[in-house]
């Protein structure tokens, strides 16, 4: 209101200086913390990354959003704080009887919408690099090459690398352990009566430099597959298949755990992915197949033995 005499509207200059100083400190702290973030407390501000390109791209999308968010945060909280300091009731202070300002209100409505539009565009620009698998590297595992149209679990919903070749692993959630089924060759041909696929629990072994596509399912309740450094979470919903992928360059162990409450021992349902060089992986997988085949054979022998002892022929496969 312009009718209020000028001297009455003036607030002491030091209040404004304090507020500006505080706003400056606030942004300095935020930016300083960000600058230190890559050091000891990298986990303070950004999601985990470094295992697979999709996780890295989520991380960079997060960081872009974070920079926008810091500007909004400092702007809004700074204005709020400044307003509280500058316009606190004092002797002789006359509150301005303003009821609104249409132009200002239209302005900030479109301003807010514009910021979100930019973020939506950035998300769309990043989307493909996060959800679409890349091709395996030149030294990738040979099993992945066989995946072209031959994978057991690839369906029309599953995204495959541009060349269509990936190592497809089935992830099965159950209370309270993860099971992984690998595309084997030996078991399938040596004994077609058996399940025909090698499998492990809890620890998934994968070749480096190879695109691994996951087909995530559940046998009982809803679980959620999550290895933070290898990209996001995907729920294992009984009756449905969910898909994701990763490609690991460095050998190592990547830890994670079930992220959807699945019962009393939800916290114990851990998962880890061990990445090894392709040659070592092939060796490991064929050993696994042989071990499983040997165990299956031993079990079959034990069953036959048991049958002949008891004379019961119906104890085939309980």
């Amino acid at each position: 209101m312009n009718r209020i005499p000028r001297p009455l509207r003036r607030r002491p200059a030091n209040a404004r200086r304090t507020a500006v100083l505080l706003a400056a400190c606030l942004s300095a702290v935020a930016l300083g913390a960000l600058a230190f973030a890559p050091g000891a407390f990298a986990d303070l501000f950004t999601p985990q990354s470094g295992g697979s390109p999709n996780a890295n791209n989520i991380d960079s999308l997060y960081k872009i959003t974070l920079y926008v968010a810091i500007v909004i945060f400092v702007g809004v909280e700074g204005t709020l704080f400044y307003t509280l300091v500058r316009f606190r009731a004092r002797r002789g202070a006359v509150p301005a009887q303003i009821r609104g300002n249409t132009r200002l209100e239209i302005g900030w409505t479109f301003g807010a919408a514009a910021i979100l539009l930019v973020l939506a565009i950035v998300t769309f620009a990043k989307l493909s690099s996060i959800q679409d698998p890349v091709n395996s590297g030149p030294g990738g595992d040979s099993l992945a090459a066989a995946a072209d149209g031959d994978t057991l679990y690839a369906t029309s919903n599953q995204r495959l690398p541009p060349n269509g070749k990936s190592l497809s692993i089935k992830v099965i959630g159950r209370q309270f352990i993860w099971q992984y089924v690998y595309p084997g060759t030996f078991l399938k041909t040596s004994n077609p009566d058996l399940l025909g696929q090698p499998y492990t629990y809890e620890d998934m072994v994968v070749p480096t430099n190879t695109t691994v596509t996951l087909n995530i399912q559940s046998l009982d309740v809803v679980h959620s597959w999550w290895i933070p450094q290898l990209g996001g979470k995907f729920q294992a919903v009984p009756g449905l298949s969910n898909y994701t992928w990763f490609k690991i360059d460095k050998p190592g162990v990547y830890r994670g755990q079930c992220a959807e409450i699945c019962g009393r021992l939800h916290a114990a349902m851990i998962a880890q992915v061990t990445a090894v060089p392709p040659a070592q992986f092939d060796q490991w997988l064929s050993n696994l197949e042989r071990n499983i085949a040997a165990a299956d054979a031993a079990a079959a022998a034990a069953r036959t033995n048991l049958n002949s002892q008891t004379g019961a022929s119906a104890v085939e496969n309980p």
Binding site: A55, I58, F87, E105, D220, P228, K233, N242, G256
Partner: protein, 575 residues
């Protein structure tokens, strides 16, 4: 009186209820059981829900104690699962939603110049249904409480994986509190639509009433969906149907859709009345009109509408088509716009004001600060590729608590500090109140800010134990310490209320120089609320009335309600 008689004679009579006799207000416990007075029902609601708030808070503290150090063995895993199920369900269904119903019950009729709700006996029924829901739910403590979380995802909540009756107690809680809210919402709607003071057009409706109006409409639309969903769960559990059983042609994903179609609007049910409370308090203590009344009312309605289009953002990690994910991301972004507009409007209301730092105002300002953080973290969660990393982690826990502690708890406390003088006739202690605010504000920041980092560090929610990798031990300890600071702040307000009920200074009818009609009557108001209902000429009828009093008497501040002359257009009744 002389003035009123003179001014009245010149005016057309306004139809009013004429009371021949006013009976003394009945007292004693029996009168509370049988009451249909909206103010008493409001107090019943407020006291009961606050009791549940304390219980839910204790459950939260027990969880924070368990998580204070890695690999803790303080509570067993099933007990931990029961704790977070009880905590979430209690805070939502037994605290925030019915607390808003309680504040609405007490103040909505007063603010619109009505003498009671449209259906007083239905109003009583709503309270008793709510209480029955709470009792049924907490009775499960004596057997096995539910363990599947407040969202009770199937198949975990099915009879195979949750055989105990606690899950059924949860279902009955949803049924009973849902019915309570449905009846209450229809009552609110009917009251607002039909019983406003003369002259109170939709454009002069107090913003808290706009909040309760949208709260009611959201509940009326969303509750039948959850009522159907939990009934389907009940028949799946006990009568052999297979709605959610994938091995028999059902769908486990269907539950998530039905639950969140209700669950997301429920979030707005919890915060929109709070937005209304803030929109009432800020103008009073900055001595300025609300900035952009129409924009705030329109934003409220916008949020309510968009609130129905965003439910699947809770389901970004499910096997859902890309087009669904994109649609929900856009709609979630859209809803941030009206919410942002409100925050700008509130700050603009403070701008160039003469801000009096009363406790109620501090809680409002604390709300703006905290809710802004919750809103910003919401933008990260709306980007579905980012959400793939963040969902079901402590990042989400941090987000919902900034939204709900900021948007609901702080606004409720603001409402308590603002309206306690009206309800009790006594003032709360300002110094205790400010201390309470300080502890609660710092406690909230300590507890929940670091939880963003816990989530980014890889800690999923709802785990009873964690291994110490990254900085999990440090972050969790900070959060646990913060939760006790927050709890201490709440305790100070409880102490404040208990002391002030006996020893608080006399409040008088209008201690804050309020803008709305509840300040027109005595504190606490008589059974019939108003002997006269003034004609409303603006959004701030009490400001008009005070100005009129000043004009006629030459005195700048009126003493008590009895001295307030009848404004033009009103008729005195009774006595």
């Amino acid at each position: 009186m002389a003035i009123s008689t003179a001014s009245r004679s010149a005016l057309r009579p306004v139809p009013q209820i004429v009371a021949d006799k006013v009976e003394r207000e009945p007292t004693g416990w029996y009168s509370w059981l049988t009451t249909t007075d909206h103010k008493r029902i409001g107090i019943l609601y407020i006291v009961t829900t606050f009791f549940f708030f304390i219980i839910g808070g204790v459950e939260a503290l027990m969880m924070r104690l368990q998580l204070a150090v890695p690999d803790n063995t303080l509570v067993k895993p099933e007990v931990y699962n029961q704790l977070f199920t009880l905590h979430g369900t209690t805070m939502i269904f037994l605290f925030v939603v019915p607390m808003m119903a309680g504040l609405g019950n007490y103040f909505l009729p007063l603010m619109i110049g009505a003498r009671d709700m449209a259906f007083p006996r239905l109003n009583a029924l709503s309270y008793w249904l709510f209480l029955a829901g709470g009792i049924v739910f907490y009775a499960s403590l004596f057997w096995t409480p539910p363990e599947a979380g407040w969202s009770s995802y199937v198949p975990l909540s099915s009879i195979v994986y949750s055989p105990a009756g606690g899950q059924d107690a949860w279902i009955y809680l949803i049924h009973l509190t849902g019915l309570s809210s449905l009846v209450g919402s229809i009552n609110f709607y009917a009251t607002i639509a039909n019983m406003r003071a003369p002259g109170m057009s939709w454009g002069r409706l107090p913003l808290f009433v706009w909040g309760i109006l949208t709260y009611s409409i959201l509940l009326i639309v969303a509750l039948p969906v959850i009522a159907a969903a939990v009934t389907m769960l009940l028949t799946d559990r006990h009568f052999g149907t297979h709605f959610f059983d994938p091995s028999n042609g059902g769908s486990a994903l269907l539950w998530q859709h039905l639950f969140w179609f209700f669950g997301h609007p429920e979030v707005y049910v919890m915060v929109l009345p709070g937005f209304g409370i803030v929109s009432e308090i800020l103008p009073v203590f900055s001595r300025k009109p609300i900035f952009g009344y129409r924009a705030i009312a329109a934003a409220t309605v916008c949020i309510a509408f968009l609130g129905f289009l965003t439910w699947a953002h809770h389901m970004f990690a499910t096997p859902s088509p890309l087009v669904v994910l994109i649609f929900v991301m856009i709609s979630s972004f859209l809803i941030a716009v009206p919410t942002g507009v409100k925050i700008f409007n509130w700050i603009a209301t403070l701008w160039q004001g003469a801000i009096e730092f009363r406790t109620a105002l501090l809680f409002c300002v604390g709300f703006i600060a905290l809710f802004t953080i919750g809103g910003i973290s919401g933008i990260f969660l709306a980007e579905f590729p980012v959400d793939w990393q963040l969902n079901d982690t402590y990042y989400v826990v941090a987000h919902i608590h900034f939204v709900l502690v900021g948007g609901a708890v702080f606004t409720i406390f603001a409402g308590i500090y603002y309206w306690f003088p009206k309800m009790s006739g006594r003032m709360l202690s300002e110094s205790l109140g400010k201390a309470s605010f300080g502890f609660m504000f710092v406690g909230t920041l300590l507890t929940f800010l670091i939880q963003h980092s816990l989530g980014l560090d890889g800690m999923p929610r709802r785990v009873y134990q964690y291994r110490n990798y990254g900085h999990l031990a440090l972050y969790n300890m900070i959060s646990t310490v913060g939760s006790f600071v927050l709890a201490f702040g709440v305790l100070l307000t409880v102490i404040n209320v208990v002391i002030s009920l006996r020893k608080g200074a006399n409040a008088g009818p209008d201690p804050w120089k309020g803008n709305t009609l509840e300040w027109f009557t005595t504190s606490p108001p008589p059974v019939n609320n108003f002997d006269v209902v003034p004609r409303v000429r603006s959004v701030e009828p009490m400001k008009d009335i005070r100005r009129e009093v000043e004009r006629r008497t030459g005195v700048t501040r009126s003493g008590s309600a009895a001295d307030i002359p009848v404004p033009a257009g009103a008729t005195r009744v009774g006595h």
